[in-house]
């Protein structure tokens, strides 16, 4: 595995956000530097006061909802707390949504532009969910 893993999470579907969070947490606690970039339909779930759960894509989502699967927000927080991952909101998506830094979920490390994200990711792997 590369020392740098950059995760771009753009889907608003539960299974995809869950897989992004699982990957971020597991890689981060295994010594990989992880940067998560939340954009498009994924970002609204990381805005303060957003309580609607993401829709399920298919059968796995329904099954996960009935089992004790760690919530994706908890996994992203563990990626950060236990593995030093950084979580960023896409500055473009923030502009489209009309939200400022103060409205981002407390676990986020603030806005990040695509240019900077790609620059940081250049020497590692990028995964898109």
């Amino acid at each position: 595995m590369s020392d740098q893993l950059s995760i771009m999470c753009v889907s608003g579907l539960h299974e995809r956000i869950q897989m992004a969070a699982m990957t971020a947490a597991t890689a981060a606690v295994s010594g990989t530097r992880v940067t998560v970039f939340l954009s498009m339909n994924a970002l609204p779930y990381f805005i303060k006061g957003h309580t609607i759960k993401p829709p399920q894509e298919g059968e796995m989502g329904k099954l996960m909802a009935s089992k004790n699967v760690p919530p994706f927000k908890q996994l992203f927080e563990q990626a950060k707390e236990l593995g030093g991952a950084t979580l960023h909101a896409c500055s473009m998506a923030m502009d489209v949504l009309g939200v400022g830094e103060a409205e981002l979920d407390g676990a986020l490390d603030g806005p990040l532009g695509l240019t900077r994200f790609l620059s940081d990711a250049a020497d590692g792997q990028i995964l898109v969910f």
Partner: protein
């Protein structure tokens, strides 16, 4: 083994990567040389946790299944 220095972490019922995260969170709280026993009902974690232990350099003490529960013992080495 000195049983007094075994901390049990009960992650039964949690799915991947929940048991691994529980293990790591508790490893931070024990002393080097002490052992942690993770209880997990998740078969995937029984394979995944030893992979993590090997990768980061702690020591696998044992990994046994008893009645559908994996008892995974890890010694903190650093």
């Amino acid at each position: 083994m000195n049983e007094e220095n075994v901390t049990v972490v009960d992650a039964r019922g949690s799915f991947c990567p929940g048991p691994l995260m529980e293990l790591i969170a508790h490893l931070k709280d024990i002393n080097v040389g002490d052992t942690l026993e993770l209880l997990s009902s998740d078969k995937g974690s029984a394979a995944d946790v030893p992979e993590w232990v090997d990768k980061v350099g702690h020591e696998m003490v044992s990994n046994e299944e008893r009645d559908g529960i994996w008892h995974i013992r890890v010694r903190k080495t650093k």
